[in-house]
Amino acid sequence: MAHSFTPPSEQALDGSAERLKRIRAGLGKRHARERRFRALGIAAIAAALGFVAILFSMILYQGLPAFTQANLEVDVHFDPAIVKVAARPVRDAQQSSAEYQRALLDWERKVTMVNWNRVLEQSIKAAAPDFEIDTKSALSIVETSERFRLRDMFVADPGLLGQTVKVKMLASANADNWLKGNIDRSLPDTQQQLSPSARMLSDRFMEDGQMRFAFAWHIFTNSDSRSAPASAGLAGAFIGSLYMMLVVIVLAVPIGVMSAVYLEEFAPKNKFTDFIEVNINNLAAVPSIVFGLLGAAVFINYFRLPLSAPLVGGLVLTLMTLPTIIIATRSALRAVPPSLRQAALGIGASKTQTVFHHVLPVTYPGILTATIIGVAQALGETAPLLLIGMNAFVAQIPGSPLEPSSALPVQIYLWQGNENRNFFEARTSAAIIVLLGLMLMLNAIAIFLRARLERRK
């Protein structure tokens, strides 16, 4: 120990005035030092809390605007002069089902060949009849995915031909940027994404209320998209993450709990179990990217499992979360009072019965918390997934854990790297808000269930 107090000598007890004065004089300095130390502590806490506050407020500040997007509501006229297709085939009695399907497919192909861009252009121009604008600029205001929506509307209801309906269309990412002020309005034309006329028209639509900001539901219902960035959503990544979490829960929880039970309740204390213990503690601190390397070498290269599949991602994340669950379950088991075990053993229960009927049920709240911590950790993990190909661009919502898919954190990684920074910086923050919201929800569920389970005891 570093401290060195000289024991009070006889003289000091005599109360030598000289000495007392020296102590008094030192006291002020010592108290000042005490105050400084305390202030340092407070400063450290303030710094840590400040970081939390800045991080969350920056993400919210950037991300919240992305949840609303500009929508243009215009009258769309399905002009028979442009939409020149025969009537939708009707199934007659002699036709077989396959023939009918073929005819229908043929018809749909013809519908796709219709110049929907013209339809779009006409409706945009009709919304501002006195405004002179070229085709390209007019079309750059709405997102490219909208022409397919018009086609789908027509396929669903061919009766629209020749009619005029009000359609709410998603503004393009560039128009959205311009209207939200994400792009500097004073930049010269050469640095603007939209032509001058398109910018003026967007402003005009905004003024007369045809263009309005609305909640962007498609962030939750659409998958990622490259050609139509404004319509890009998180649904595919969410489902991918969901599959992975299911794999983690199905594999990591039983295996983790069982090995914790073995190590804590059954294992003899010997070199082998000691080795397992050191091993698990070490695995808990192995960098996550090493698990990614393991996945790439073993699951992808050796077992030839498909790239980008949530199943493989789930397996890698399972191995990664296993130590967390084992360690937490073990400490929950350790907290069970020995009297419980002794009572069960005393009335003749076997060791296995004692553990599974009496000890383990008491630890359910602890296991639940451990599971949720582990799952939340796995949900936010990115690095290992990059190594097993989950950073591939996937435009569909995966239908099974073996189909290629993205994951929420990987989607964040992909979006932050998108070239359209003005638009995707906000979109990325929005995705982060969704991810953090999910994690918060998981934790809230954990706290709620834990409180309930503990009350029942």
Binding site: M1, A2, H3, R30, R33, E34, F37, G41, A43, A44, I45, A48, L49, V52, L55, M58, P254, M258, S259, V261, Y262, F266, A267, I276, V278, N279, N281, N282, A285, V286, P287, I289, V290, F291, L293, L294, A297, I300, L322, I326, S350, K351, T352, L379, G380, T382, A383, L386, L387, G389, N391, P409, I412, Y413, Q416, E425, T428, L435, L436, N443
Partner: protein, 457 residues
Amino acid sequence: MNTAIVASLLLLMLGFAYQLGWSRSRNMAVSGVKIHSRPAYHASLVAFWALLPALLVLGLWALFGDTATRTYILAQLPTEITSLTAADLEVTIRRIRQIESGFGVVGEAQTYENSAAQALREFRALTFAFVVATAAATGAVGLFLAQRRINPRLRARNEIERIVRVLLIGCSVVAILTTVGIVASLLAEAFRFFTFVSPIDFFFGTVWSPGFSSTGAGASGKYGLLPLLWGTLMVAAIAILVALPIGLMTAIYLTQYATPRVRGIVKPIIELLAGIPTIVYGFFALVTVGPFLAGIGSALGLDIRATSALTAGVVMGVMIIPFISSLSDDVIRQVPLAMRDGSLGLGATQSETIRRVVIPAALPGIVGAFLLAVSRAIGETMIVVLAAGNSPFLRLNPGEPVSTVTVTIVNQLTGDTDFASPQSLVAFALGLTLFVMTLILNVAALFIVRRYREQYD
């Protein structure tokens, strides 16, 4: 489809076996004979013996079925095809499988391909039926033998408990297998890399420029580890410089000064930082902290880039704060109150007590926390991928971009899963380096913490 059939068959068999075992032993118990084990144990035992052989058969098929199918395809092909090079043969086999599965192939299918696919289809249907039948038959035999053993004196419970014990041990071994898998895959692939590049050039090389496998740079690229290692250490050092003072002072204040109320509020908020996914920190560094630091730099006349070792280090430090603070919190609270009270009673101020008594007593634990934090900083990936700038040169200035071991693993292994080129294999050599570094730190930390943990108990 097939998996669903097999799974439902297995479940059906399981249910049947359990029911059979239960009703037979139950009848015995009802008829007044005193039986050793309760019906549930007898039932589980029968179900187990019915399931095990069936699972074994299915497992064997999963392991060797693919090889068998392949051999069969080869047998179907004319000799001029089987004498092709291995790569061409692989392509042919893949084409046949695609025709067989109904996906179709690029280009016109050859006659021999079609006939082989047809034969393969029949072979598949036949083997599937055969495997399922065998599994069912062995299961039935197991079921028959197991249910014949049911008698009042059968110690079914003991047998079940032995089985459970084996299952538990099996689960504990998963953790060991993971470590073995990591070490084996890293070593194997790293050795393959060292057949291209000598270990001396790798570990002591000062230039990192691997080139691209597509340009055929091959072994002519330069794979010097030192620039990456330097970048890793610099970022980690900056992170520790940020996290250690803040984390430690936070822990001290929260354990020694704060009222329980303040502690109850502040501690969870700081621990919130630990739950945030690292990709979020990376984005935060890229979008907020980087430009901020660059702004400060230009105001002071320093050249700090937005993506630099400093940016990544500072944000990583924030990430590690809760790690250090909660670990130190634990060890500080383990210091016996008597030591503190003794020091305070001798007239030392609180800060003197903390600095001269509490901290020295808790030092081993704090050093352990410090080592774990370093290990974590070295292995962290996403923050540096996004915010460190990825420029693998030996530079002293922390305001310049750097590259790290983890960033390079991601760069070398994403997008390209051709495991034959040194460009991707080097990722495993880097992974091995990373794994060994973190292993040493983790084991040292565990050793120190374990050795000194019970000093005062």
